[in-house]
């Protein structure tokens, strides 16, 4: 696992050197402006607005990072031929794939951690208090991290065989459709046509269900996330990530590096 760690750390270092974490500045500005404005224009729903805005921003910033960096993770190294020297070191090809995934995962984790701290600061500024219920926000952040990890694994898988632009379109498409997969299933049921219902159900099960990770509205309203949902989502994300990474490893291990 040492080789995976070395590759992961270098991927993180690349992201930092490429000024990826500069998005934190935009997030900080957004939260500051929101906190000041919310205090002036809303009465009684400051918490709701700040939590909603903050978690949505954390999710969106993370999605953009996961997709835009993820789609180039493998392809960029193949195109620039930086892989040649690396893969002739005493490592296996799966070390590279898992290392790249872990590196981007670490980048997203650090980014999300800073943004979450910013959200709590903004929340404290607006409400002047933090209750135990506010820490439900951490569950929503955990779900966002699961979602981002899954998206990273899918972007990485696409990066093993498609150009960044194709991977970008596909990853974004998967994310958007996956965020509404429950609606697709409901649409199939409403159609009352057996083949349409079957098709919609198949699509629902095949596509990653990103919508299941979205508890932002509930948490903003102070609702508690059920433990069963936490376990379900964790298991679901883990299985999907493992399947995506295994597919990426299978493709990459048989790939000729021209």
């Amino acid at each position: 696992m040492t080789t995976v760690r070395i590759i992961a750390w270098n991927t993180f270092r690349e992201a930092v050197r490429d000024r990826v974490l500069y998005n934190l500045v935009f997030f900080a500005l957004l939260m500051m402006v929101a906190a000041i404005l919310v205090g002036q224009i809303s009465i009684g729903i400051e918490r709701l607005i700040i939590v909603n805005l903050g978690l949505t921003a954390i999710s969106l910033f993370g999605v953009v990072m996961a997709i835009f960096i993820g789609v180039g993770l493998v392809y960029k190294e193949m195109e620039r031929r930086t892989l040649y020297a690396l893969l002739t070191k005493p490592i296996l090809r799966w070390h590279f794939i898992v290392g790249k995934f872990a590196g981007l995962g670490l980048t997203l984790l650090v980014n999300t951690a800073f943004m979450t701290a910013g959200l709590f600061l903004a929340l404290y500024y607006v409400t002047r208090t933090l209750s135990l219920a506010d820490f439900q926000i951490l569950t929503a952040v955990y779900f966002i991290l699961l979602q981002l990890s899954l998206l990273t694994a899918l972007a990485l898988l696409l990066s093993c065989f498609a150009t960044p632009i194709v991977s970008l379109v596909c990853s974004l498409g998967l994310f958007i459709v996956g965020s509404f997969s429950q609606d697709i299933r409901a649409f199939g049921e409403m159609s009352q046509t057996p083949w349409m219902e079957g098709f919609a159900t198949t699509v629902y099960y095949l596509l990653p269900n990103f919508g299941a990770f979205n508890v932002i509205a509930g948490v903003a309203h102070g609702k508690t996330v059920p433990v069963a949902l936490i376990l379900d989502n964790t298991l679901y994300a883990l299985l999907y990530i493992v399947a995506a990474l295994l597919s990426a490893v299978a493709i990459f291990s048989n790939r000729n590096l021209k």
């Binding site: 050197r17 040649y84 020297a85 002739t88 070191k89 005493p90």
Partner: protein
Amino acid sequence: MPVVEAEQLTKDYLTGFWRKVPKRSLDGLTLEVRENEVFGFLGPNGAGKTTTIKLLMNLIFPTSGSARILGRPPGDPSMLRRIGYLPEQPYFYDYLTAGELLDYFAQFYGYDAAERRRRVDRFLERVGLASSRDVQLRKFSKGMSQRCGLAQAIIHDPEAVFLDEPMSGLDPVGRREVRDLILELKREGRTVFFSTHILPDAETLCDRVGVLSDGRLRGCGAVEELVSMEGQAVEIVFELSAGAGLPDGLEVTRTGDRYRWQIPEADLYAAIDRLRQSRALIVSVIRIRPSLEDYFFGLMKK
């Protein structure tokens, strides 16, 4: 034990829009590289040199045939620990400095931080980049990247080094330094396998060479052995006496009053007779040793 053994190694690439047209890049290469020799892999551009090295490095996979390096299959991590590789026109992570890049690669060999620092300093010094330790690779010239590539290939003191066009992109001083480095590696007991199309470099450095053309190995052996197959030639230098004309049909080069005439060794006495009849003054007769270049072009013409 041979360092490299290739047995009928063949590589086809699929080309065309539907990727259904196979194009043979390497055709049945059988080759052996021995311990502690400098082996030069020669051939024109597109001959299959880089394809061969990539197959040996497990960066691409053979269509048929097999290869072993240090007795292990390509890609085996225990074998990779014992070899070094410089890709053709290397490109590295441009957000790293030269020192960071070498440190990154050295980590894969399990050295601790202090040992890595020592090695990074030692090998940057060895390739002439000591003063560029903290310069980001994006600011490196082609020649500097090449030197950095050489350093990463040898940072772990490998038993065998594979260098793909190590002299390309280097100025004459850089080429000389790489030549010296290859000879040093040999003196240290390592095996060097390098591809090049710069024939004088190969002639100077190599114990044995393999000549590749259109994906096929056209010749392989010690440089002396191969060039002796070219057949011997002689050069006669002569001057004409006053008023005498140059005999008809002679392909000569004139330098001042002197003429140089190159002929196969077997025709020497007949040539001398012709010159005597023309009352030419024979200044010298020198045997010309064929060069690797002569052998190479001889093969290419066939």
